[in-house]
Amino acid sequence: MQTEVVKGNEEAVPGNGLDRENYINAKHGIWSWLLTTDHKRIAILYLVSITLMFFMGGAFAAGVRLELMTPKGDLVDSDAYNKLFTMHGIVMVFFFLIPSIPAVLGNFLLPIMIGAKDLAFPKINLLSWYFYIVGVAVFLVACLFGGVETGWTFYTPYSTAFSHTNVILAALGIFIAGFSSILTGLNFIVTIHKMRAPGLTWFRLPLFVWAHYATSLIQILGTPVVAVTILMVAVERLLKLGLFDPALGGDPILFQHLFWFYSHPAVYIMILPGMGVMSELITAFTRKRVFGYEFIAISSLAIAVVGFLVWGHHMFVSGQSTYAGMVFSALSFLVAIPSAVKVFNWSATLYKGSVSWESPMMYAIGFIGLFTIGGLTGLFLAAMGLDIHMHDTYFVVAHFHYIMVGGAIFAYLGGIHFWWPKITGRLYPEYWARVAAVLVFAGFNLTFFPQFVVGYLGMPRRYHAYPEEFQVLNVLSTAGASLLGIAYLIPMVYLTWSLFAGKKAPANPWGAKGLEWTIQSPPTTFNFDHQPVVTEEAYAYAEGHDTSHDAAPPAAPVRA
């Protein structure tokens, strides 16, 4: 396309913007990053900060797994162990998984995918990152003062009346970070409603956008409830109120209702964006239109809506009425329907597709299998009778890690690899990416599959010691966790390396559809040179035609 001189002996790559003006080189200096209102730069700020939190949460998990190598509590005592799993949970849920895909990939891609120059409220977008950072900082102070050991769920009255750790600070950190999530959701909803390019109707939107729309609804309607709930816990501790104190007539179960009213939908905040990524990956690497577009789009909304009505399945054994339990159980089964719609439609998309096995697709295929296992074991737990046997065992731990790691993190890693050339303008080494994807898959399954077994056999969660007959399965799990830990480090190394020495990426290295692939890599500050006009539906791959060698023109005004 262009014939400019490039540095070194690299060839000019069509659609690569590294030697032209782009969002990275548009401004320089630390303040140009810390005060930026560019959605792409804010995405990078989030990427760096959540990656740090991911490795911090991983370090706590390493402590847990090391302790569980032996039946006796010989590495840490029970108090320290309680702190390890609590802080692992808090960091991973509130400071990594919830912001992960929306705040990094969503921030970067959502405006581009709908043909906008930025999110509707760029300053609020920056503010949301600062809320996140202040929340993290407050939580880190809580860690420095000795951490917290209530479990990430902060159940009362333990958290309000008995715990001697830093509950108030930890709760405050989560409270503040919650606003970051709310503001991101608010920005996305307004942007999707008001700023779509001409011709981009609702049913032409990429499914990534639909998934983020559904996620944002949960962020807006769920997060404030948990915010006010943990605020009540903090104030109750601070001022000795009696809101959840049974001695004063308070009801600890009320806390669980309020907590899970958010924290169950929060599971969908973590998985729905991953499902959005999945739809993009599956179509790009089968070079085929997605099967049942409308069903996938609407199933995201269905998950968001029904997801608000199932929280009581966390409370089958906590003294909730049996009849309430029956309703919650039935509604929980109902959520399986829209989830299954997605899994079946992705699988149907593979049928007669021109499937290729680049590393993002390996994560996507892994997602389908692991999410299915996680989802089906969720049905076991939604059945009231079975749940009495499996409640608070390692079966539950294994189940939600299949969703959170096998689902959300696989989609996150797949998405990061898929859009890395767009974000950075560099290609990563595909060989190492495939090695890492295989190792992540193997390490993950070795870590968590034995936990289904050991949990079904009766090993409870949240204890630092266990009967000797469970040791073999726990050693397997710890071995898997070691492998998984190493496998997570490999992408860190080669992705960082690729920033400096990776091959330059063209505008559309995968031959994928979508407005983001029509602009240069990395994009300019305002994404598009001309307002794009959309004339076709999403994923309009020509059937049977391999588009991977079609060179897309940089900054083409029309989705071609």
């Binding site: 906008a116 120059k117 930025d118 509707a120 409220f121 760029p122 609020i124 709310i182 608010l186 920005n187 909803i189 307004v190 942007t191 409603h193 008001k194 700023m195 807006i220 309607l221 769920g222 997060t223 404030p224 409830v225 915010a227 006010v228 709930t229 009540m232 104030v235 109750e236 001022l239 000795k240 109120l241 009696g242 809101l243 001695a247 004063l248 007539g249 308070g250 009801d251 009320l254 209702h257 309020l258 305002f526 307002q531």
Partner: protein, 231 residues
């Protein structure tokens, strides 16, 4: 469209000024939606506990100052009127009127907060603030509930009533404490002539926010102050 992209308030990542205005208003509505859920947690707790402890709520509510609460309700409703007049003046582009009505709103909001301080002080003086110094004996249940077990239960639970009273009215007051400086800021911008018929979104969305805070109080006043005797 060409003229609306040359307005000084226009931010260029929007296609034109009207898209920008729609986005701002819609954004405030979405924000209000999350605010409803934020207060919703406390309203849910209120519903559960009033159902569990009707006596405690009844006796607790009778130690609130109904005349002051009623007067404050009138003040707040009146401030919503002045706010609506400010938005109206902005739509007509009458600079002095916008500033005047906004300052009137600030004044009424401050009166409300001042009265709230007086009410809170009464509760401190009467040892009705939950915590170590709380004295349920102040509530005068002894004359009305003969059974000492029931009376003890109601007296303990009355702390929950006052916890909710302070949480809900406190959170509401916090929203007003945030709102007042925001209105002053908007008033300053109005004084500088930044708003007119073509563009006055900030006045409109601060108005939405203020009305929302007002409506929360419309629910809080009867729920907290006007509890009838349980059967």
């Amino acid at each position: 469209m060409s003229s609306s992209t040359h307005h000084p308030a226009y931010v260029h990542h929007f296609e034109n000024l009207s898209e920008q205005k729609e986005a701002a208003t819609f954004g405030m509505w979405v924000f209000i939606a999350q605010e409803v859920l934020f207060f919703g947690g406390l309203f849910a707790a209120y519903a559960i506990y009033r159902n569990l402890h009707p006596e405690a709520f009844y006796f607790g509510s009778h130690h609130l100052n109904i005349p002051l609460g009623a007067a404050n309700t009138a003040v707040l409703i009146f401030s919503s009127l002045t706010m609506a007049l400010a938005v109206h003046a902005a739509a007509l582009g009458k600079r002095q009127q916008i500033v005047g009505w906004l300052l009137a709103t600030v004044f009424l909001g401050s009166v409300f907060l001042g009265v709230k301080v007086v009410e809170y002080k009464e509760k401190f003086d009467h040892h009705l603030v939950p915590g170590a110094s709380f004295q349920a004996g102040q509530l005068g249940m002894a004359e009305h509930i003969a059974d000492p077990v029931l009376r003890g239960k109601a007296e303990r639970a009355s702390q929950i009533y006052f916890s909710l009273y302070f949480s809900m009215t406190g959170l509401h007051a916090l929203h007003m404490i945030i709102g007042v400086p925001l209105i002053l800021w908007i008033a300053a911008r109005a004084w500088l002539g930044q708003f007119g018929p073509e563009y006055h979104s900030p006045v409109e969305i601060i108005g939405l926010y203020w009305h929302f805070v007002d409506i929360i109080w419309i629910f809080l006043f009867p729920l907290l102050y006007l509890i009838p005797k349980p059967h």
